[in-house]
């Protein structure tokens, strides 16, 4: 099994252009990675919908118990859960008509990826949405991180 198949820069960049993101497992604790990512995406123009049954509001946004409870359309389902929870989340992502299933660092589930892929969704695995946004559209290079970006073209 090859994770790199799910780390295609073209798919990543295309996904980053879609603004409606549901974050499954978003924590209300300001020090958790998911909270950093949610806040970052909100600050960078994404419409973030939390999915966490234990909280009513996170980052000032109404939180839903599951993906299927969300009344509005979702482009990307971003997952911060243990890998064993991913297949069920993938099925829900298919059911709500999402365009991409995005699994964060360490959330590795080939079974979940296959469910989403078979239904025509894009899949990104073992990547961070914040880092990939910062790499391609943001300012990751301002902190000395290796973006891997080599280009003589001027960004607009």
């Amino acid at each position: 099994m090859n994770i790199e198949r799910y780390q295609d820069p073209k798919v990543i960049r295309q996904t980053l252009t879609r603004r409606r993101v549901a974050i499954v497992g978003l924590s209300g604790n300001e020090l958790r990675a998911s909270n950093f990512v949610g806040r970052y995406l909100l600050r960078n123009g994404y419409d973030v919908t939390p999915v966490n049954p234990r909280e009513e509001f996170i980052l000032g946004r109404k939180s839903y118990a599951s993906l299927t409870d969300i009344p509005d359309p979702i482009d990307t389902v971003d997952v911060f859960r243990q890998p064993s929870a991913v297949p069920a989340i993938a099925s829900e992502a298919v059911a709500i008509g999402a365009g991409c299933l995005w699994l964060q660092y360490g959330v590795i589930s080939f079974e979940g990826a296959e469910i989403a892929e078979k239904a025509g969704l894009n899949v990104v695995m073992d990547c961070c949405m914040k880092v990939e946004h910062a790499r391609y559209l943001g300012r990751m290079h301002w902190l000395g991180f290796n973006t891997g970006r080599i280009s003589a073209v001027r960004d607009s």
């Binding site: 820069p9 990675a33 600050r43 300012r139 290079h141 000395g144 280009s151 003589a152 960004d155």
Partner: protein, 430 residues
Amino acid sequence: MADREFGFATRTVHAGCRPDPTTGARALPIYQSTSFVFEDAEAAASYFNLQEYGNTYSRIVNPTVAAFEERVANLDGGVGAVAFASGLAAQSAAFFTLLQPGDHVVSSSALYGGTITQLKHFLGKLSVGLDFVDPDDPDAWKAALTPDTKLLFAETIGNPGGNILDIEKVAAIARQHDTPLMIDNTFATPYLCKPLDWGADIVVYSATKFLGGHGTSLGGVVVDSGDFNWSNGRFPVVADPSPAYHGLSFHDTFGFYGYLTKLRAETLRDLGAALSPFNAFLLAQGIETLPLRMRQHVANARAVAAFLESDDRVGRVSYPGLASSPYRELVRKYLPEGPSSVFCFDLPGGREHGVRFIEALTLFSHLANVGDAKSLVIHPASTTHRQLGDAELSAAGIGPGTIRLSIGLEDADDLIWDIERGLAALEDTN
């Protein structure tokens, strides 16, 4: 994950420096500014909370310095890098970030003298234990490990003895002990060797030397592979909630960016040894010619070492690139394009001949540095390594008549001409 895997030379020129989006400037702009205006109050807060990537204050981040950092990280295959005002500042910060009182370090004994002094005195003041081992003996590394050992440290090419580290072997010993291996890759540069590819976890540089390459600017840099598991239970100082950063757990929150984020946001912030933007510009510019320069450094060093080895007025020549070197196999494995251009040779006449030799040279510069475009010469026993006792001297591969050369980019014939005159001066007065 890039669209194309660009080659090393392409990356020396481009990595870290895309055209400036505001002005279109093609060369790396020097952002000579202490501080940067925030877009709004929330942006300010989110930068200091590390929730967004933003410029705040040049002791912690600066866009010119960041370009240099990204360039080195890219060439070494790391997840990122943090630059410092000097190589020793980079090392002290790298140590400080992962060690706490009661910890223990195992280090190669064949190191730059300033590093030996730093380890002994700086770590001693932090109540960190330290043992030096013969880097060529894997059993010595193993035997020195204690339950408190939290770091293994060595140079790729030892300064000045020319010991070549069997990186893969020492990295395996480190991994077995759930301990990071940190390598000073100053002499090799990522052009000649990439220690992360052989299992090292962290690489440090004195950028003052070959990276900058022209003897203009002090600088240092720490590169992290991102692969070390700081949450293995042995590194609470990295993994636990930090009292110095409102309870943030760096490894848990930032994953493989955790160590570097702590190194910058806490250690660089607190120790304060930031690299200046102007030095970062010069160092980044130096790297643009790194492959060309290193090839010529190696070719010249081979020619000079071969000349010295063939001369009976000269004792041992410790260039690991010689066919006679005991490190030949390790060079073939880790430094296939050659073991850089700093090496020693012995004058049998001891200290007095060492001094006389140096005084007769007119093309080599007598000074305390290495890795310059100009050829350099020094007598370590009376200069760089003078703080060390005889036992430590010999552990670092240095005798009373040892001369260290750093071969530059002149014509090799001219360098040999100068050395020939130095050797002739020894005979005249005998």
